[in-house]
Amino acid sequence: MNNKITIHHITRVEGHGNILVDIKDGKIEKVLWEIIEAPRFFEAMVRGRHYTEVARITSRICGICSVGHSITSVKATEDALGIKISEQTEVLRKILLHSENFDSHILHIYFLVAPDLFGAPSVFPLLEGAKEVVLRALKMKNLAHQWGAILAGRTTHPTKIVPGGFSTIPTKEDLLKIKEIILELIPEMEKTLETLSTVLDKIPAFERDTEYMALWNGKEYPLYDGKIQTILSSGEKTLYPVEKYRECTNEYLVEHSTAKFTKNKLDSLMVGALARFNNNYEFLHPEAKKVAEKLGLRPVFTNPFFNTVAQAIECVHSLYDSLEMVEKLIKEGIKEEEIPKPSKYGKGIAVVEVPRGILMHEYEYDEEGYCKGANCIIPTNQNHGNIQKDMEAYLPYLIKEKVSKEELELKLEMLVRAYDPCISCSTHFLKVRFK
């Protein structure tokens, strides 16, 4: 088998990446996951900016998880400036993170992955054969967006997330609307799971020992706050304080990538839905656990293709967990709150789970509240190395199975897509350097 495979601008992923494979006489000469997204230099951009503007700038790193970027950014800014947020703000932020997690997962499951499982090049041709699936996807995507928009203003580049809380606090009517949306989404999610279970067998079988990294706080399935934990296939867990984050996500630049790669214990690591699932299975909402059982997922699950399935499980968790929080807020009543002012100036750091994994922002501010330096570590960056290693392990297997070139291409693309890589995001930060 002699083959040169180059997939330029791989489709149905966020951002631009290429897959390069050279096979000679059945031997792999080169496998490369190449990141070609244009670099954008956000760390430089926020320098000299007032703390009230920073989150709105870093939100522009990524249009898919801009809520996550905004929340992480204001959280780091609050840490740097000694701004203490209220409990209400924290709950609202948690609901908001759920909404984005849900929103982004739905986009990934339906628009990016489903076509592969249904054997279509995109979601649009499905309008012919599986119209209700497409309409359901659009409906769910829009409802999820509305859910987030009630709290964040816009979900792409939020208008209401500011250091200290929310520039406009939702009213009781708003919360009732969120509840209504969630209740409308639950049956749609059930149908989604039904659809998913009919195509489970289309997901390739492939396992590789991997180090999974996620937030952990021993109380909940954490998105907003926690320490960093990794779990190996053996079940061995290690906990790291947030400040050690940079050390356990050793970053390195590679020549073929505008994004940087990371590694910890093994030569690569994975973050995202499957990593969270493996680390925090016990804290999933019972409804989500039921679904996991039905779909046959137990921790530690080491097939990266099942990241999509883990996302579906998280969707269920996000719905029920949010519903409980919203109902509690409605019952206890929502209060108008003043936005607290800075009490100090200095450095601050925040880690938050966003749809694709752990996101870290770190800033330093001067006495007037202007930004002196910034650093962000993006989840997809942490996965790039794992994608590369997975491809290296998966390719020989595919060659042994003697699959056609087209099949090989498709399978590699599916592997990349399973990670839901957000490449546009991952190219904007690299080096920590405070001036």
């Binding site: 320098r47 995109s122 208008t159």
Partner: protein, 244 residues
Amino acid sequence: MKKKIAFFDFTCCEGCQVELTNLGADKFAGLLNLVEFVEFREVMSEKTGETIDISFIEGSFSREKDRERLIKIRERSKIVVAYGSCATLGGINALKHRKEGWKEFVYGDANFEILNSSKALPISSVIKVDYCLHGCPINREEFLKMAIDLVMDKEPLIPNYPVCVQCKVNETVCRYLLNECCLGLVARAGCGAPCPKDGIPCEACRGFVDNPNLEALKEVIKDKKLQEKLYLFTSNQMEEKDEQ
């Protein structure tokens, strides 16, 4: 026959595409009544060889190697719309021009070919752009209106009045009445003024109206550091004005 439309992206966050996926089933299906999507990398694997009726381009032009791709798109398209402020103005990407040594700052001393990036410029700096749909991100309703107009062969309406007009329609309390500053006075409307409405200032993400009164703005916003706001999304436009 349905018009063929396509979406392309360059240096950007892809948020404008995401906004399209938020249209909802009714509007999306409605749009598909009028048009056929022929290329949309983020959600489609299909590619087309045929002429495209309308190409929507997102993202700014920030490195030489993208030039050829842009020229090819222009050749294949009857109408080119730059959508999103990255594409129409250079957008937030151009903010880096305000900073010395931006490349070294982010990527250290690494000097790989792939990192090469020049100034972030609007798409119109490379190819002829027929219409601009401003915004960071775009306003979905404005997109729909423009899409329908273009499909119907109608000259789309692009507002040339400031955001304040839409703020009034929303009956938002002006930021200045709250002793804060805002760029809505010089920013091109069309977004529906969501920022002041939600409690944050307008930062002119859609660029300026044709004749912004920047001298007056500098009298209204006296603080030099606050005046830096004028470079947030409108760095390229300001550079032009500063040169004059």
